[in-house]
Amino acid sequence: MADQEKVSRVVFEVIDEINKQLKDGKTLKQSEETVLFGKGGVLDSLGLVNLIVTAEQRVTKEFGVNVTLVDEKAMSEKVSPFKTIGTLSEYITKLLAEKSNG
């Protein structure tokens, strides 16, 4: 089963990759509290799409599991999985645990 620490490392690597693509001096700070999207966030809607797609691909590569980060379940979470780096890591850990438990 994927532990939160490994997932966090993968998410930070994704953030590194996204930072390389951000323009106009924008950058996402490597912190669990960094807001990704919405009020106080760095990413626009296109940037968020890019982040989600990159994260899905990295998770597949690192954990050998295909995950879909955006579905009805993600939409119905009380706190959006895409609010901060921390919520994204938590959500991916939860999804991987569910996949692992069948």
């Binding site: 296109l46 890019n50 797609v53 691909q57 295909n66």
Partner: protein, 234 residues
């Protein structure tokens, strides 16, 4: 020399899909094809996946393998389609509606969605979806098939607006009737009658389709998106 372009074509076992696979391999593309059954031909620079295009997990896995093997995707042609029941809607079985939407619309959607995820990394992509002259001609007996193709058109036009910022275009080609297994299922007299309503009243050729696609997939065609091109003067 730049690495050759990579193209995915759905429904390559026969008909237009097979023709396009052969045509684009000859033009130097690395072609990936898929269909429910294996193909009975071999082509250099062609790789085949056996899958049902309405099976999301299989589609996602195919794209994982495309990403790992080719690292990019330049063109997608969503050709696969079925037309299981040509009968008045009043007699149409629900199972025909379900299978038609699964393959013709859901399949097109899944492949387009996953393709765009792969294409966006290279900031380039060309998605070609197939509709039909039936959408304009509104042929009795083809209500569900026509509805699936109308759905493909609406989806493609909206999708084009969403993905153009990613360097990807999405257009629809609606061939006139071409002699394939799909058109063979239609009564010949009825088909001739329908074709009389077109500017071009004879059967279309496969080359009409590839000629149109050649133009749409050119790098210079970046401003052509969200369009529906009816062949045969429908």
């Amino acid at each position: 020399m730049a690495e050759s372009r990579v193209m995915l074509i759905t429904g390559t076992r026969k008909g237009i899909g097979k023709y396009l696979a052969e045509y684009y391999v000859k033009r130097g593309f690395r072609v990936i094809g898929c269909s429910r059954s294996p193909v009975e031909y071999e082509l250099e620079n062609y790789r085949h996946f056996c899958l049902d295009i309405s099976d999301e997990s299989k589609i996602v896995q195919m794209f994982v393998e495309i990403r790992e093997s080719y690292e990019k995707l330049d063109v997608v042609i969503n050709n696969a389609a079925i037309n299981p029941s040509i009968i008045p809607a009043i007699l149409m079985p629900t199972s025909s509606l379900n299978s038609s939407f699964q393959v013709n619309f859901l399949g097109t959607f899944l492949v387009s969605r996953e393709a765009a995820k792969l294409m966006m990394r290279g900031q380039f992509g060309r998605i070609i979806n197939f509709a039909s002259m039936a959408v304009r001609l509104e042929v009795p007996g083809e209500s569900i098939y026509t509805a699936t193709k109308a759905a493909v058109i609406s989806f493609s036009r909206v999708f084009a607006k969403e993905i153009h910022r990613l360097g990807i275009t999405c257009n629809v080609v609606a061939p006139a009737a071409i002699e394939t297994d799909l058109s063979a299922a239609v009564d010949a007299d009825a088909l001739a009658e329908v074709l009389k309503r077109n500017a071009v009243q004879s059967f279309g050729e496969m080359a009409d389709v590839s000629n149109t696609i050649d133009w749409l997939i050119k790098p210079e065609s970046q401003a052509i998106t969200g369009q529906v091109i009816y062949l045969g003067g429908v």
